[in-house]
């Protein structure tokens, strides 16, 4: 069975600073995908960034980037130049290739302070 662990229930960062959210996972599969989703307060969950396990290059989307360490089964999210609008719950998620089920971590609540 696959599991996803987010060990930081809450984090805070000052505006314009950089913050890293941790995620580890456990699987015996070799082909899979990893995702970070963002859930702003009272708003819909949206995809932030995704990574295919076979790709060695870390995914980047503007201020968001990941550090994917396949051997260590680690998938952290780095947010650069944090903005107030980054305040949200962040979920790490995992999906085996050719399946439909997403497995979520327990989430990290990020607060960005002015």
């Amino acid at each position: 069975a696959q599991t996803v662990t987010q060990s930081q229930p809450e984090m805070s960062v000052q505006e314009a600073e950089t913050v890293t959210l941790s995620c580890t996972y456990d699987t015996s599969e070799s082909n899979y995908y990893l995702f970070w989703y963002k859930q702003p307060p009272s708003r819909q969950m949206i995809l932030v960034i995704r990574q295919e396990a076979y790709k060695q290059q870390n995914a980047t989307e503007n201020r968001f980037s990941v550090n994917f360490q396949k051997a260590a089964k680690s998938f952290s999210l780095k947010i650069s130049d944090s903005q107030l609008g980054d305040t949200a719950m962040y979920f790490c998620a995992f999906k085996v290739y050719n399946t439909d089920k997403l497995i979520f971590g327990t989430g990290t609540r990020l607060q960005v302070f002015p």
Binding site: V4, Q6, P9, Y33, F35, Y37, R43, Q44, M45, I46, L47, R50, E52, F91, K95, Y97, N98, D100, K101, L102, F104, G105, T106, G107
Partner: protein, 115 residues
């Protein structure tokens, strides 16, 4: 843009009532999902459907059932609501393509309180 809507943002029901949560999507996606979200537990899959009238149990199906009579609509049913079903319920959808990592699109959620 994909639009996923849920029938209510907030719902209060009494123990023993039958509760219907509705989810509608406008993008002709095959797969639809129901999750519940609880603090410290993340999102847990209740049921999903990959086609009309097809359903599969997720990780926590007990106490729930689902209905998918039309492709765009996926309903979650609590036959006899209990207080431990007080939670945030999220619907999601995605287009089924083999071997791709297409994202799931989420609705705004329904916060259900069972008294």
């Amino acid at each position: 843009d994909v639009k996923v809507t849920q029938s209510s943002r907030y719902l209060v029901k009494r123990t023993g009532e039958k509760v219907f949560l509705e989810c509608v999507q406008d993008m002709d996606h095959e797969n639809m999902f129901w999750y519940r979200q609880d603090p410290g537990l993340g999102l847990r899959l209740i049921y999903f459907s990959y086609d009309v009238k097809m359903k599969e149990k997720g990780d926590i199906p007990e106490g729930y059932s689902v209905s998918r009579e039309k492709k765009e609509r996926f309903s979650l049913i609590l036959e006899s609501a209990s207080t431990n079903q007080t939670s945030m319920y999220l619907c999601a959808t995605h287009y089924m393509t083999s071997g791709t990592y297409n994202e799931q699109f989420f609705g705004p959620g329904t916060r259900l309180t069972v008294l």
